[in-house]
Symmetry: C2
Subunit: 400 residues, 2 copies
Amino acid sequence: MQRFEPNLRIPGPTALPSAVREAGARQMINHRGPEFGALFGRIESRLKGYFGTQNDIILLTAAGTGALEAAIVNTLSPSDRVLAVTIGAFGDRFAKIATAYGAEVTKLAVDWGQAAEPALLREALGRDHGYQAILLTHNETSTGVTNPIPELAAVAHELAPDALLLVDGISGLGAVPFAQDAWDLDVVVSGSQKSWMAAPGMSFVSVSERAWTAAETARMPRFYFDLAQHRPGIAAGSTPWTPAVAVLFQLDAALELMEQEGAEAIFARHAACAAATRAGLTALGFELFADQRYASNTVTAVKVPEGLDWKGLNAELKKRRLVLAGGQGKLQGLIFRVGHLGSVTLDEILGAVGVIEEALVAVGRPVSPGVGVAAAQRAALDVLAAGSSGTGSSGEVARA
Amino acid sequence: MQRFEPNLRIPGPTALPSAVREAGARQMINHRGPEFGALFGRIESRLKGYFGTQNDIILLTAAGTGALEAAIVNTLSPSDRVLAVTIGAFGDRFAKIATAYGAEVTKLAVDWGQAAEPALLREALGRDHGYQAILLTHNETSTGVTNPIPELAAVAHELAPDALLLVDGISGLGAVPFAQDAWDLDVVVSGSQKSWMAAPGMSFVSVSERAWTAAETARMPRFYFDLAQHRPGIAAGSTPWTPAVAVLFQLDAALELMEQEGAEAIFARHAACAAATRAGLTALGFELFADQRYASNTVTAVKVPEGLDWKGLNAELKKRRLVLAGGQGKLQGLIFRVGHLGSVTLDEILGAVGVIEEALVAVGRPVSPGVGVAAAQRAALDVLAAGSSGTGSSGEVARA
């Protein structure tokens, strides 16, 4: 049965609630005027809560990749030594940016699907701790794994106290608890099209005082992403270059909805939808790709079973207007990914699991009718009953 | 008399037509899917016409300043010699970007309000023509001056045939005729919030084959703005990083409106509104800031008369919901600027001139009632009757 509207279950951009969509249709305003200043102030102050920080948050008109570049070029100099802890395609990209700007990058690469275990970082820093910065991914979108950031940060602070911690929080912040200040992270970035329920185009960079100090001597060249050009405007609510005003209208509306829902409820909703996705797909006979001790609450990666053609299955899904994401890079054709972040609710996950069941039948892989949705529903209710929302503060983020 | 809606007369972001606004409220789609690919293709192909090029056009999620950075870092290496022809704040910014990335920049600075006369460039290149690149501003937003780009390009080709011509076309393209290929310009950039009638957030970079060749050996570091990462996706209609999808929805709608209106009619509309602005303000007793031989068809800069306090006048304008722009940098308090680009129509200019008359009276500068609007109306009709839309191909762009 075909839906009237697609069920957009990719890990961003995410479907926008009506109030957010409609905010995108507002007439333009003067981006140097008081109305924009108030908008900027509301957004920046509400973002701080989800970042868990008292830092100023810089709003960049760019995709998240631009914000990752900002994190690097503002804090480092060419030939600085950088440890890039990478667990997937986006960790690799973060490392590539540092390399492009002349850093001497050592990669601590973990098998895709695994998290970076704190013991592994301990071992790496035991061998060599002369790094100016350590790059960490909070939630790896390509594999559906959430790293144990607080534990990794603790190891880094113990063994490499002078290294700056630069964290890609693009696809996790706003969906799971995060505490930049408590965990003592130097730069954390996120992007509007992920858990924030807005269109893509804006990204956010939270910069610690230690990182601002590093910026004073950092010699990587920069202009558009030069955060020092942004800092003076924060008090007045203005940006040095013309910002993506309509995306900020949407973000403002989305943060208002998030305020009404409350952070705890948002985190619980994500945990429940993630558990439902994992349970539903497992019940349909799929194997999950990620180490389940570190399974992400925003995206689930699923192995394409041997003998099943992903393209054929995906064609059936598309016919039914369920939009999933394929694998990236070396995982193309080997996994598919289900996004459950932002405005996601349980009914959409149940719908997605139901459609996947239909599509399996259509490609000649019969399953026992209803097992997927039943398992998904039970798992979600279990999570909600247990009141667990994944604290992100232990190594056991949102166990299935 | 206060309008219900502000009359947004700043040089971008510009007011959006309803069809464009509403496109900003569309639900998100998969930015890796066929629907996005078709959208991308329509936009890229329609932009080509206004750029006057057969080049691929790269769509960047960034303010125009990001596109200027892309123009530089993709074509140059540190310590390359660059001649920055600057006639205002945005020309200065272009030069600063080149300096930030280590180019050896020579500034050919013209008094603000003046254009870069071809003879001046001839003289500069006669003294020294060992430049790898020449930076040119098409339309200088801070002063309301349009440079004679074809004549400047001809001088550059004659005296410095190996120099790349990098052109800031941000606030002029789409409003006046432009011919990148005929004028043999290497990189030309523009931005969505100017004449394109869409929200800010996307910028465009048209790259000649000569510039692509330069990119192969250019050593300035780059990642987010690395155009080579964008080029392979153009055929398929995809971008390497998540694009500002909602801005592209709007841009698509705006380009459809532009298609319906026709380029000639768009150029004539801008010429008429510009002439009306200049004539109306002159009739009200103001002196125009720009050399009128090169007066811009998208923005008019006006001197604040001696003894008149801009803040006081602007407060009266704001009460009446007319939103103008002040002076930038060293022109703060000395000029104000009226934007007449994008969706601008004559009635809005007449309204603006009328409100300025009211505000003058309110601050004790009585004017003869109606002289401004009458002069504005007459000037616009003269332009439309003459069929002149400013060819941009002579040094005499849209003489008043």
